[in-house]
Structures are given as C-alpha cells and as structure tokens.
C-alpha cells in the first residue's frame, strides 16, 4: 500500500503538471478579470484545440449595451435547458426590460442572476478554474462584461446507459435495478431506499486530471467516526492522474495490497449498498463506474448475497453453509486429492483406490502435473469464455468442458478422476457469491497443491494453516477480516447469527459490529413469538 502510494506520488511530481496556466495540482491559475474580452481570450486559450467547445457572445439590453458570453461542451449539456431557459430568457426577456438602465447597469449581474435565468440550479464562482471545471462537467457558464464573476448554470445532460439489471449479481427474488455510470443517478438509487435525513452524501474529487467525483454515503448517527476519519485520510493520502473505475480507488486505499483476498467489497446493486449503509458501513460511489465500494468489509460479507435476506431463513441457511463448503472445496480439493492418493491411499476405500490406480496406470504424467495441467486448462477456458460474445461463449463452455475433457481422458492424457476433481473445484468457485473473493481462493489453491504434493496430508494442513494465519491477520479499516468467527463476543455473538447460517429475521435485532456501539438495536417486535 505504502509503496504504491509513494510510487504514484513520485511519478507524478510537481513538474509535470505545472506549466504557464496550471499549478502543481493541475488547477488553472489564470485570473478572472472584469473585462469580458480578456476572460474570453483566457478561456479560449484553455480550450484551444477543443473542437467540441461551443461558445456564443451576445449583447443584452434594449440598446445592446451589455455583452454576455455563454460557453459549454457540445453534447454534455441538455440543449433544451440552454435554449429555453437560458438563451431565450437572456436574449429575449432581458432585452425587453424597460430602461431603467442605471439601475440595471449597476447590477445587471445581480439582475440576471436573480431573475434572468429560469432554472433552479445556479451557482456563482469566482475563479477561472472552477469555471473550467464546470464546463468540463457539463454545465454552462456565463461571462458578463464588467464583472469578475461567473455564473454557472446546471445543464448536465450527457448520454447515459440508464438503469439496467446488473449482470454480475443476479438474484431470483429481489429488485432488479443496478447502478449506472452517473454518480447522481447512483446516489438517487440509494436515497430512494433510505429516506433518512441523517443519510449524508459527502462529495470530493479525486484525480488531478480526471477530477472524478466521488461520493461517500453513510448514516451519520450509526457510522463509526473513526472509520470515517480513516477513510477520509486514506482518500487524500495520494495524488493520481486519474481514476477510471472504483477498482483503482480500491487498490489505493486498501489495507494490504499483498494479500490475494479483497478487503473492500464492490457491488452493482443498490439494495445491497443500502443494506450495507444501514448496517453502519460506508458506500463509496465513484463517477463513471457502476461498481460501488463498501467499507469496511469482513470475509463474511463476501458470502452474503442480497437474496439471503429476502428469502426464508431455512433455505438460506442451508445455502450459506453450502457456500462456505464451496469456498473450502475451491481451495482444497485438488490438494486433498493429491495428498490422499500419493501419500495415504489407505484412507480411501479400497474400491476407489483400485479404480484410481487402474485409471492412472496408463497416464504418462505424475499426479501433480496432471492436476496443475487441468487447472491451468480450466483457467484458459474460463478466460476465453469471458472474452467471447454471448452465444459463442456458452458454446465454448460445453465444447471445452465436455468434449475436450472427455477426449483428453480417452487419449489418456489425464485420468477421469482428475477431471472430476478439477470440475468440482471450478463449480465450487462459482458458487461463491462475490467474484472478487473467488480469485483469492483460486490463487491459494496452487499453494495448497504445491504443499500437498510434497508433504501429503501434513502439507495440506500446513497450507490450510498458512492461509488461515494470513486471513486472521488481515484487517479492513481496522476491523478484523475474520470478524464474525473471531472475537465475536464483542457484539454478543450477534454477528454469528448471520454467518454460516442465517437466523430468522426476528432474531437478528442488532446491527453488526460495523456500527457504533451504542446504536445497535434495529429491530423490535411487539408480539411474543410463543403465542
């Protein structure tokens, strides 16, 4: 983490951004002046070689005394607002104002600002930097001759994907909305679900060139202040050119960059984000990406899917247990297979041992090579399947998996039991709800394979222990990663109710440890359950 930050900081040293017009933080240093012509000149200097920069200068007032200048970026704005609410007002209405010119002249700025523009969202700024930023964000700026202030009118209207079903976190029962790339749309989706005045949206900008808007959403009286402060510090602890996706942000603020396991969760579902906020976590929404970060995160969070809470507890507890088993299988099955067959065949029932021995007799490679080969082949298949468009992708799955696998067995390159082992591992890794965690197990699997092939069952256990030690020492924003399973006495074992199994809703009446200690009760039922 620290190395990454230092690297980022060193590379992007002051000299690169500084030039005549910009300072060390890539902010514009040119001043605003009262003279319209100078402002226009400066602005057009900044936007030199920008073909999409549109500007218009026009006079207002009955005798066309005052000059105004309007500028925006083509297609980032909603043209209707500009034409109807802005230009029409300025050009036509203001012109028609009866001449009390002195009064108007002395404060035409105030006049226009207060009455001339028929939109609700108007700001005034007094640096050229903010003006430029506003243009680049899709607003329209108005220069008025004689005033060193700029009016910024909100006219954002760029093309957008809109709200669609999220493709990666699919549920059978539950809302089907997903975040989109526009920050404001995403905050709205969460706002709709939490109509609490204590829900705060703290905005900042990250990236000196990208100036990406980032919003932190949390509920003020539930969230832990120390985590919030820590997050604030981490977000300002580095300087980077630009971030394009929340993933980059995640890697810059996470606790341990060396670990294969993710310490921050990303989601595309607004209901999941809202649920996390209600638990006391903080949602980080990054403009231009539908993936919202949730902080802090424990291992258990990756095994929870939103559907768990909408369906009934018995089936969902069962599913949870299967997921945990799947995680274990995804990392451990190939290693266990190697350990048992190569070192302790007495532990496998005789029939199976004979079958394995018979099928291995004609295979040329040692077991380890077989297993690793098949695993890598599977990774290839998986990668290929992701890149290919729709129908071809699924065909490859069937072709690759079934036919090539079958053919490999018949050609005696691998034995059929290894195919089963690898298939079970792969399917298990798909059963984990959050894809990011799967990667961790996929990587760890090779460590365990390595140790099992050298030390048998002992090596398998050592591998598992090493992974456990690592997991146990991980922290996500100072919250232990293995949280519900360790130190759960802190919250009266409340967190355990939602881990390997999911207890009925009426039993989970306290918030998990993410929230402030004194604000934990979230559910009170009136009726007694025995009646």
């Amino acid at each position: 983490m620290k190395i990454l930050r230092r690297w980022v900081g060193n590379k992007l040293s002051k000299e690169r951004w500084e030039d005549k017009f910009h300072d060390a933080d890539n902010k514009v240093t040119l001043p605003l002046s009262k003279d319209l012509e100078e402002n226009i000149k400066n602005l057009e200097l900044l936007f030199k070689d920008c073909g999409d920069f549109v500007s218009r200068k026009f006079p207002v007032g009955i005798h066309k005394e005052v000059n105004m200048y309007v500028a925006y970026i083509d297609l980032m704005i909603d043209r209707r607002i500009i034409e109807e609410s802005l230009l029409e007002q300025l050009m036509l209405q203001v012109r028609g104002v009866p001449p009390h010119m002195d009064k108007i002249r002395s404060s035409i700025y105030d006049f226009i600002r207060d009455g001339g523009i028929a939109t609700a969202d108007i700001k005034e700024v007094d640096t050229l930097d903010e003006a430029a930023l506003a243009i680049l964000s899709g607003d329209t700026i108005i220069f008025i001759d004689g005033y060193a202030k700029v009016i910024v009118v909100a006219t954002k209207g760029w093309p957008n994907r809109g709200i669609q079903e999220p493709d990666s976190e699919v549920v059978v029962r539950g809302p089907k909305e997903g975040f989109s790339e526009a920050l404001r749309m995403n905050t709205v989706l969460i706002r709709r679900r939490i109509r609490d005045t204590k829900l705060k949206v703290k905005q900042l900008q990250i990236g000196t060139r990208s100036r990406t808007d980032v919003a932190l959403m949390y509920i003020e009286d539930i969230v832990r202040k120390d985590i919030l402060e820590d997050l604030g510090k981490r977000l300002t602890d580095f300087k980077i050119d630009g971030i394009l996706d929340s993933g980059q942000l995640e890697q810059l603020i996470e606790d341990d960059w060396r670990s294969p396991f993710p310490q921050i969760q990303a989601t595309q579902r607004p209901d999941k984000a809202a649920s996390a906020i209600l638990e006391g976590r903080i949602a980080i929404i990054v403009d231009n990406t539908p993936f919202v970060l949730l902080v802090p995160t424990t291992l258990n969070n990756f095994f929870q899917s939103s559907e768990d809470y909408y369906q009934r507890w018995s089936i969902m507890s069962f599913t949870r247990m299967i997921r945990y088993m799947a995680a274990f299988f995804a990392a451990g099955v190939p290693g266990l297979y190697l350990a048992l067959t190569d070192y302790h065949p007495s532990m496998i029932p005789t029939q199976l041992t004979m079958a394995i021995a018979a099928s291995r007799e004609q295979v040329p490679f040692p077991s380890v090579v077989e297993v690793v080969l098949m695993e890598l082949a599977f990774e290839l298949l998986r990668e290929a399947g992701t890149r290919l468009p729709g129908p071809i992708g699924s065909t490859i799955g069937i072709v690759g998996g079934l036919i090539i696998g079958q053919a490999a067995v018949e050609a005696k390159i691998v034995s059929p039991i290894v195919v089963i082992v690898v298939a079970v591992t792969a399917i298990s890794s798909f059963a984990i709800p959050d894809n990011a965690l799967t990667v961790g197990f996929r990587l760890v699997k090779y460590l365990i394979i390595g140790l099992s092939s050298i030390f048998g069952l002992y090596g398998f256990l050592l591998g598992v222990l090493i992974v456990l030690i690592h997991l146990v020492s991980l922290k996500s924003f100072n919250m232990p990663y293995m949280s519900p399973f360790v130190a759960s006495g802190i919250n009266d074992y409340e967190d355990l109710k939602d881990s390997v199994f999911r207890l009925p809703v009426f039993m989970m009446n306290k918030r998990p440890i993410f929230s402030r200690a004194d604000k934990r009760v979230r559910l009170r039922t009136n009726k007694k359950k025995n009646e």
Partner: protein, 361 residues
C-alpha cells in the same frame, strides 16, 4: 509415491517354511528360511471393471525368508511395484506356524509394530497351508481375502456361525490372557468356509473346536448374538432364530470352593414349526421354549467341557469376569487359573423367549 506405483496387497497367508523337495529350490533348505508367505494382489483394472492388460482376477506371489519383513522386502526383485499393506482385507495363519511359538510371536510383533497394518483386519487360521488357501479362486469373489472379509461382515449382520477375531482383539487377548480363539478356515476346490475355531494357548496351537463346540462359546459372548438353532421337538425339528441374547456370569464361593453360574437370556423368532400344528397358544410355546433351552444348555455344557478338560483354555473370559466381580478371589487363584478352570463347576441356566412366530399360526 504415485498411486499406481504401489502394489496393493489385499491378502496375506503366512506359513512356516517346510521344505518341499518337489517344488522348492534346494538353496532354501537351510535353517535360515523360516517363513513362507503368500501375497495376493488384485488385477486392479479388472477390479474396477475396466479392460486391463491381463485377464486374471488376481495374482499371488510366494516368498520365503528368515523374517516376515524379509519376505516382503524380498519381493523387490520380483514385483514391479512396491507392496503396500494399507488395504489388507484379511490374514490367514497356517497350522504349522501356529504350532511354532517363536515364529508366531515374531509375526504378531511385526503386525503390531508396523503401522500400515490396521487393527481391524480379520484373522483366520487354517488346518493346513495358508499359502494354498490364498491361491484358491472362490466363485463368489475371486480374492480369498475379500471373501473372508465379507464372511466376517455377514457374520456380524446376519447369522453368527463363528466368533470373529480381528488383529486388535487378537493382540489384546494375548496381552491379557495369553490365549485366544481364532476362527477356522476350511477350503474346498472352489469354495471356502469359516466354521469352528483354533485354540491357542501361550502362543501355541493346542487344538481345534468344531462348529458345535464353538457355538457354545458364542453363547457366552456378552451380548448381541444372532444365532440360528435347530432343535428336535417331538418328531420334527424346530428352527429358532435368536435376535438378541446376553449372558451373565456369577461366582459363588461355598465352603471354599469356587463355582460359576451362567445365565443366558435370549429372545428371537420361531422360523420353522410344522404344518397342521397350532403354535398360537401359550402352553405350546412354553414347551417349545423348554426344548430350545435344553438344547442350548447341552451345547454350552459340551463346549465348556471340551475347553475345560481337553484344553484347559479359558478363551471365553471366565477368569476376566471373576477378576472384575470378585477381585479378592481372583488374587487367590490367578496364578494357577488353568488348573482351577479345569475343575471349575459351571452351571448353566438358559431362558428363552419366543417373541415372534411369523405370519401363520
């Protein structure tokens, strides 16, 4: 080691080496060669239903040497894979081996010390050569050792015809009492049978019990026998199947003479009666019960008599029970328990209950 580099030994037949002029190499005729051991390996491809390189269901290798370990390590020059004992299904001891005290103790020590041998391996003894027995191909399952293992299974679950013994129990018997009973294996051309038992006292084979006599010992087990018994009743025979039985021993000391009283209680089903007779009345049932009781009592008394008089071997645990119940008495007699056992008056009392009589009257 890769799994296909292991040769899985499924069955073991251990004999004392006896030089056979016709078949053996003259170099083996010396004092050093003590053991002749047969190792039975399955044809693993055939075992798992595939087409393998050979058609035989198994192959047997016989090796001779001064110690048991030497015999299997000596397979090194003949066997293309490395022998592995983790999946042994049963072990057969030959008669001559059992008669030789020293050799038998050596073998037992190896089996105990080497952790590859599981303590739950079934053990049988044969009145003949174990190495011959291993080579038989019974029709039910081509590997004798698996067949024996399966016989043990069905003995436990279906009808008991012999007293099972596995390696762990055998070792325990020897440690505690210095004597044991090993089920007897008999072989035919294409089939094998386990019935009766070998009596081993002080690590030496003393004799054999036939099937009837072993039954008596079976009755004296503590619990859970499932025995079938055919009893003469009037002019026909009745078949009775015990589903549950238990026995209790009590010791009395009258006028400084120790005696033992055994109560056997059993309940079970009436499997066979005779057509045209009605069993559905209480007196009839009582009469049948009495007949069965008498028959069982005779069997047990016979077995005990053989054990006491012919062998002086307390393989049924009477001494152990005495130790538990009356430790002071045991202290007095434990050093010459054999003689005491020989003349111990044992009285038997049998109580039978017929619980189920089937579908018809």
């Amino acid at each position: 080691m890769s799994i296909d580099r292991r040769a899985f030994v499924l069955g073991l037949g251990i004999d004392k080496f006896i030089f056979d002029e016709a078949k053996d190499d003259p170099s083996l005729n010396n004092d050093k060669t003590k053991y002749r051991v047969a190792f039975s390996f399955p044809n693993i491809a055939k075992f798992s239903g595939e087409q393998g390189l050979s058609d035989e269901p198994k192959f047997v290798m016989i090796s001779s040497g001064p110690t048991f370990s030497n015999t299997y390590k000596g397979l090194g020059g003949r066997l293309n894979k490395s022998p592995y004992f983790g999946h042994i299904k049963s072990i057969i001891f030959g008669k001559e081996l059992l008669k030789d005290k020293v050799l038998f103790k050596e073998v037992l020590d190896t089996l105990q010390r080497n952790s590859d041998f599981s303590r739950s391996i079934p053990i049988v003894a044969i009145d003949g050569l174990a190495t011959e027995a291993i080579q038989i191909i019974p029709e039910g399952n081509p590997l004798v050792s698996i067949y024996i293992n399966q016989l043990f299974e069905s003995n436990k679950n279906e009808t008991m015809r012999f007293q099972e013994k596995d390696l762990g129990e055998l070792l325990q018997n020897f440690q505690e009492d210095k004597m044991a009973m090993i089920p007897k294996l008999s072989i035919g051309e294409k089939d094998i049978k386990i019935a009766g038992a070998a009596i081993i006292k002080d690590y030496e084979l003393k004799g054999w019990l036939d099937e009837q006599q072993t039954r008596g010992a079976l009755w004296l087990r503590k619990k859970n026998q499932r025995l079938e018994i055919s009893v003469p009743y009037e002019d026909f025979h009745v078949a009775y199947h015990v589903s549950n039985a238990k026995s209790e021993m009590k010791f009395m000391n009258k006028d400084n003479e120790l005696s033992c009283h055994i109560t056997i209680q059993a309940e079970g089903n009436l499997d066979e009666f005779i057509l045209d007779r009605n069993i559905l009345n209480v007196e009839e049932i009582k009469k049948v019960e009495e007949a069965i009781e008498k028959s069982i009592k005779e069997e047990v008394e016979n077995s005990l008599k053989t054990l006491q008089e012919k062998y002086q071997a307390d393989v049924v645990g009477i001494g152990k029970e005495l130790e538990r119940q009356k430790p002071k008495e045991w202290e007095k007699v434990k050093d010459h328990w054999e003689e005491v056992f020989e003349t111990l008056p044992i009285s038997i009392d049998v109580q039978i209950n017929i619980r189920r009589i089937g579908q018809s009257k």
